[in-house]
């Protein structure tokens, strides 16, 4: 019994790594388009990808076109019915408050796996938490796993801020301003 559990968690770890690799690939595509590099993927229990998304806020001039909502858009074109909590969302950075609320209302996501935390906008513990939605009749509150490939996600974000800010070699000054 112990053995099978260990095996399950091993295959889980492998699935996590593989799915997060897809999310990171989406994030890199966003970076190439000059967007804040965040990417995500919606995966079934069997590891099948049903939708992907990457940040498109600049491209669309719409501040709500975050990776998660772009993926949900794609999911809405999938002609399929879903069960509550059926999918796992892999996203390179903690979903913001808006996307967290969207995830809860969509009801299809049972589990969120994210890379680095989002101290400025995070809705899964940083600025607000999922407690906001517990005990409500509508929506589905997912479980959370954080820190998967966090270093890579942070590295990508760092690359974006270095690229767009020509005065970047003075990170200390910028931090003081904020």
């Amino acid at each position: 019994m112990f053995n099978s559990r260990a095996q399950a968690s091993h295959s889980q770890i492998r699935l996590n790594a593989r799915a997060m690799e897809v999310a990171l690939y989406e994030a890199r595509k966003a970076l190439e388009r000059g967007e804040v590099p965040v990417g995500c993927v919606l995966v079934t229990e069997d590891g099948e990808t049903v939708a992907t998304g990457s940040n498109r806020t600049n491209e669309r001039g719409n501040a709500t076109s975050h990776a998660e909502l772009v993926a949900f858009e794609e999911l809405s074109n999938v002609k399929k019915m879903f069960k509550k909590g059926e999918l796992t969302l892999y996203v390179t950075c903690e979903p913001c408050i808006m996307c967290t609320a969207a995830i809860v209302q969509m009801e299809v996501v049972g589990h969120i796996v994210y890379g680095c935390s989002n101290p400025r906008f995070g809705g899964c513990g940083s600025v607000r938490s999922l407690d906001l939605y517990r005990g409500r009749p509508d929506g589905h509150v997912p479980t959370i796993q954080s820190g998967v490939e966090a270093a890579t996600a942070i590295h990508l974000l760092g690359e974006f801020y270095n690229r767009t800010n020509p005065h970047a070699p003075k990170p200390k000054k910028r931090r003081v301003k904020r």
Partner: protein
């Protein structure tokens, strides 16, 4: 008919009164809907001679600084006796009651030469957040008021009337497209200076089917009025409302949604400077979407029993950790209209 003009101005006054009474700011610091009752705490004070003040104040700010949450208290107050207006005495605050219990051993030694006669006073425990509170609470003890980020400037009568008009039209738009059993929600973006409607959106999220085996379609779940309004504003050439009948309804208010409105500057950044009117309080997703879009102000006509309220509950718009803050108002047009009607009879 000369008396009609009079009646009209009476109506205007009544509306003005109803608006001042019914329009409320939502999720703010608490002082924006009139002065609160002060919370009080006990401090140690002493009467002093006016000539003592200049020596005693610096000694006390060194010895017993009011930096333990009482920095809103002025150190000295004037006490004039009703019987004799000419005799003015001063009263000086030392510190909190419980602080004095800890410090009296060493502090009495330093203060010995001033001959203080200690008494207890109840004073406001927190800083006033509006000028009305400053005035009201100042009867207990004179206070220092710093009009900072908390200062709330109530909307002017003209602003209130504009808010009421836009809110009424948004509610009408919502009702005109209501398809039972779906309760319709409408959102519009308004350029406040020109009063122009620059985008609008309708809720289409209620139309997803839930099947008995526990599965459901996900395609319109997030299609809330605010989200549709924001994407319609972002891509003005792609109307988000495809249904022809809905399109017709939309045109009543939002013809300009197909073309970026002329009132906006060329370098318009997201929704900066724009107000969003929505027929009921936005959910957390929509509230945060408005924050991401840098909205100037949000106005809604009623609370939302279905979702966690983005402003009344989650208080997204007043979160100091986020990069943008704004005001949210409840303008209950239905209540205001029925008050106006009952006034007439």
């Amino acid at each position: 008919m000369p008396h009609q003009g009079k009646e009209f101005s009476d109506d205007k006054d009544k509306l003005c009164l109803a608006l001042r009474e019914k329009v409320k700011q939502v999720g703010g610091c608490g002082a924006e809907n009139g002065p609160r009752e002060p919370k009080t705490c006990s401090v140690v004070v002493s009467p002093i001679q006016p000539q003592q003040a200049s020596k005693l104040v610096p000694v006390l700010s060194e010895l017993l600084p009011l930096n333990d949450g009482l920095s809103h208290l002025k150190r000295v107050r004037r006490v004039s006796f009703a019987g004799n207006a000419a005799s003015v005495e001063l009263e000086i605050v030392l510190c909190r009651d419980e602080v004095w219990e800890h410090r009296k051993a060493d502090a009495s030694e330093v203060l010995k030469s001033f001959n203080l006669q200690l008494e207890k006073r109840m004073v406001p425990a927190t800083a006033p957040l509006s000028r009305e509170e400053l005035r009201k609470w100042g009867d207990l003890w004179p206070l220092i008021f710093k009009p900072g980020k908390h200062l709330h400037k109530p909307p002017s009568p003209v602003e209130l009337r504009d808010m009421y008009n836009h809110m009424s039209r948004t509610t009408e738009l919502a009702e005109s497209v209501e398809v039972p059993p779906n309760c319709a929600v409408a959102a519009v973006l308004v350029h406040p200076a020109s009063g122009e409607v620059v985008a609008c959106g309708l809720d289409k999220s209620q139309r997803h089917a839930r099947v008995s085996d526990g599965t459901f379609t996900v395609n319109t779940k997030l299609s809330h009025a605010v989200m549709n309004c924001l994407s319609s504003f972002a891509s003005p050439h792609i109307p988000t409302i495809s249904n022809e009948e809905e399109q017709k309804n939309t045109d009543k208010m939002g013809k300009k949604q197909l073309k970026r409105a002329s009132c906006l500057p060329n370098d318009q950044y997201l929704c900066t400077g724009l107000d969003c009117y929505v027929s009921r309080e936005p959910c957390v997703m929509c509230s945060m979407a408005l924050l991401h879009s840098r909205i100037r102000r949000v106005v809604f006509a009623c609370f939302n029993p279905e979702h966690v309220g983005g402003f009344s509950e989650a208080k997204i718009h007043k979160e100091s950790a986020l990069n943008h803050r704004f005001e949210a108002f409840l303008v209950p047009v239905k209540e205001i209209d029925s008050e106006m009607r009952s006034c007439k009879t």
